[in-house]
Amino acid sequence: MRHGNKLKCLFLAACFTYGIAAMREELPPYGLIKDAAEAIRAEREKEQEINAVMRNRSVFKKRDQGNIIRNARITQGDIGKMYEGLTLLCVGFDAAMLVDAEGVAVHRWQLPFSKAWPKPPHVPEPNPDVMTRFIDAEVYPNGDLLVIYHADSDTPYGYGMVKMDRYSKPIWRYERNAHHDMYVARSGAIYTLVHSYEEIETPRVPHFRSPMLADAIAVLTPDGKEQDVIPLTDAFYDTPYEAMLFSDLTEVDRKKHDYLHANSVMMLEEGMADKFPMFRPGWLLVSLRNIHTIAVIDPVTRKVQWAMRGIWKMQHDAQFLDNGNILLFDNVGYEPGGKKRSRVLEVEPVTQQVDWSYTGTRTESFYTDYHGGQQRLPNGNTLTVETGGGNKVMEVTPRGELVWRYIVRGRSDRTIENPINKAYRLSYSFFNKDFCDEMGCPKQHSTVFVPLEDLQPAAGGATPGQ
């Protein structure tokens, strides 16, 4: 080989080796190459997922004619132990409904994202409607509905908030990437979570890379006007809880630069505050999935006043309870026998004692690694939503006895099924008379019993302190 050719080969080999070294040792242009590679990969994955969903969605439509109620199965243990009322379900892609105890839909809202926002200013290239869904909803007594849209396989996945009337006609829209959860305070103010990719340098947290999927709490007036936005990463700075930011993440979340992944927000109301002497009325409880932390933020100082990590992992839906405890959905923290399960935990925030938990029945546990949630009902029962896996809603007594179950059958791989994203029980008295009359409720129920064994709590499942 000629000397010149040897040099050329050596040059190319050196360049090749430098390429490896650049990625291994984070030498220039590491950042540029990594960002470009991740962007290409994300784009390819999104395209593949959209194609798969479109294919499967057309099959699904042919098979079920879009009637999601047909797949529902209701089992009732003892209707006398249920908390009476209607259950608001966010189910499917762009629908919410109220179902009675027998699972019959008495009212339904439906508003595809493309109809709510023909040209959304906050989402330049939105997903097709089959890849957006109602992730959370709040119903008003007159039948108005607040909903948050989520996108599958797109980041930022929060697609915004819409208030619609009982006939699904939009009233106002909040054109920001609202996501996951909302809380409507007694004053009418609305608290929600927003996120967006931002070019933020965070020298105090060096592994938070820019552009970061920055989470914040947004405070809205009852008519949807933005009043305040509280950035969540900044809220940790200069507090004893700043160390909570230094936690390991899954590879997927690291790639998305999704470092906190806030997924629930709730305000401490005046009447409940005396049960939480360490907090003040108006403070906000948030759940931050990717750092396995729940935190309380003072919206005035905009700082974290309290935060806790515990036995839970990738949790959702943290809520203040009126007995001074905190209730949350622990997605992947429960590992009996090394198997991943989900559970609902009621934790004393001061002592970290688990005062109550629910892990399923003897024959049926539940597990979802995404979403999920629960609601403590006025009679002490707990309504639990398993979004993935069994795709069901369960109502259990304080002793862990299953008294009501609503299952949407079908595949539940989050892309082609009718996922149950959220569920809330509301008493009949909550609704205005004219809306109630329109729905034709309440009515008498027939009782369907299922084998007793199926309804008993699992060992270690739901006794206090278990």
């Binding site: 430098y18 490896i20 990625m23 590679a37 036995i311 429960y334 991943k340």
Partner: protein, 414 residues
């Protein structure tokens, strides 16, 4: 002119080709191609070569260095350290050796089939307690597996007083004639059923209460059952538990009498235990044999936990800290016992690793300072509660534990 342009284009072409090759190399790393391992092997080879040049290879261990950084803030006394061998060393503040205790495991238990170095296994002292008369109680660990293998009491001349052979391991506390130590024990069938394991974990831990005089076992408390029926039982079923060592208790500390008033929620006879594989710390009431307080927080696979001042507990966090790099940087975490809140954290300056064992030890000193052993980095540091380093002892070998011996504790002329 044409020739110049040709050369220019040629240069651009080669630069372009070079850039494409850089991209190709980078893509192989990003896409996790096997060939990248070759780069790692070569990289490790050169890194080892550089270490040897710096005199950091095992063959060229430098003498230990001791630095007094703020003498006025130090807790007075000498320091007893355990290293990666079967010698206990008592050092003064300048690092001078005052006394050593030496006992080879295979001299204590000659029929155990354990061979002297250079055999594969090497049993060393992991942790020790010094009595005022110069006697020591010391735990042997296997350097390879990390498992505890025995406990001995030696007099000041290193003569054997008694020995307890078995899987007793890190975690040693003494008060009066009682000695508390942890022992690894197989998970029973009944326990396995309770834990709902298809394939049960191999071992759990129990607490032994021994007579310090003769090493006889006075009492045994099952730590797994200590959780049963308490509001902290869910800790047993939570993520990250050990598949082999289910709970892996790694440190115990009795509530110091001088701190008892700061922990009114606990009885005087209670023990703070760190459960490494539960990622939790807990307080065991010795009278009832039940867990009365527990906490899980931002730490992971933590080592020692100790009672601190103002109703706090300090935790040596092994694997909880993450800043985007390798997860091998330890930190100290301070929590308030009364309300389970976080008081603060401290990141030690670790330096160069001299061993593979990702572990450490922590002791509270009179006055509130902390004595921190950074095993992997061969360092012992005394820090103030605000995190200021006031004394440091650095070795080119792992240091497993360090205990400060106050002035006047040992007899005159020891």
């Amino acid at each position: 002119m044409t020739r110049l342009l040709d050369r220019l284009f040629l240069a651009f072409m080669w630069l372009g080709l070079g850039f494409l090759m850089v991209l190709a190399g980078a893509w192989m790393v990003y896409d996790k191609w096997g060939i990248v391992r070759a780069y790692d092997v070569v990289s490790v080879f050169f890194s080892d070569l550089a270490k040897e040049k710096d005199g950091l290879s095992n063959a060229q261990i430098r003498p230990a260095q001791t630095h007094i950084l703020h003498a006025e803030s130090m807790a007075p006394g000498d320091t007893l350290i355990t290293r990666a061998d079967d010698t206990l060393t008592l050092l003064d503040a300048q690092g001078a050796i005052l006394h050593t205790w030496h006992k080879r495991f295979y001299d204590v238990w000659p029929t155990e089939g354990v061979q002297a170095p250079p055999s594969k296994s090497f049993y060393h002292f992991r942790e020790a307690h010094l009595y005022p008369n110069g006697d020591v109680v010391a735990l042997y660990h296997d350097l390879d597996s990390g498992n505890g293998v025995g406990l001995v009491r030696l007099d000041k001349e290193s003569n054997l007083l008694w020995g307890l052979r078995g899987p007793v391991h890190n975690g040693l506390a003494a008060r009066g004639d009682k000695l508390y130590v942890l022992r690894e024990t197989p998970v029973t069938q009944e326990q396995a059923e309770t834990l709902q394991y298809g394939k049960p974990p191999e071992t759990t831990d129990e607490l032994l209460v021994l007579s310090a005089r003769d090493g006889k076992v006075k009492d045994v408390i099952s730590l797994l059952e200590a959780f049963a029926g308490t509001p902290f039982e869910q800790l047993l079923y939570s993520h990250g538990n050990g598949k082999r060592k289910y709970i892996n208790a790694v440190s115990i500390q009795l509530l110091p009498e001088e701190l008892a008033a700061e922990f009114p929620q606990f009885a005087p006879d209670c023990l703070l235990i760190s459960f490494r594989n539960l990622h939790s710390i807990a307080v065991l009431d010795l009278l009832s044999g039940k867990i009365v307080w527990a906490m899980r927080s931002l730490w992971a696979r933590q080592d020692t936990a100790v009672f601190g001042d103002e109703g706090t507990i300090w935790v040596f966090d092994n694997r909880g800290y993450f800043d985007g790099g390798k997860k091998d940087r330890p930190r100290l975490v301070q929590v308030n016992v009364a309300d389970h809140t976080l008081r603060g954290t401290w990141l030690p300056q670790v330096g160069v690793a001299v061993g593979a064992q990702n572990s450490g030890d922590l002791r509270r000193l009179p006055g509130g300072n902390l004595l921190v052993s950074l095993t992997q980095f061969g360092k012992v540091q005394e820090i103030t509660p605000k995190g200021e380093v006031v004394w440091e002892h650095v070795r080119d070998e792992p240091v497993h534990s360090a205990v400060r011996v106050p002035p006047g504790y040992l007899p005159e002329g020891f």
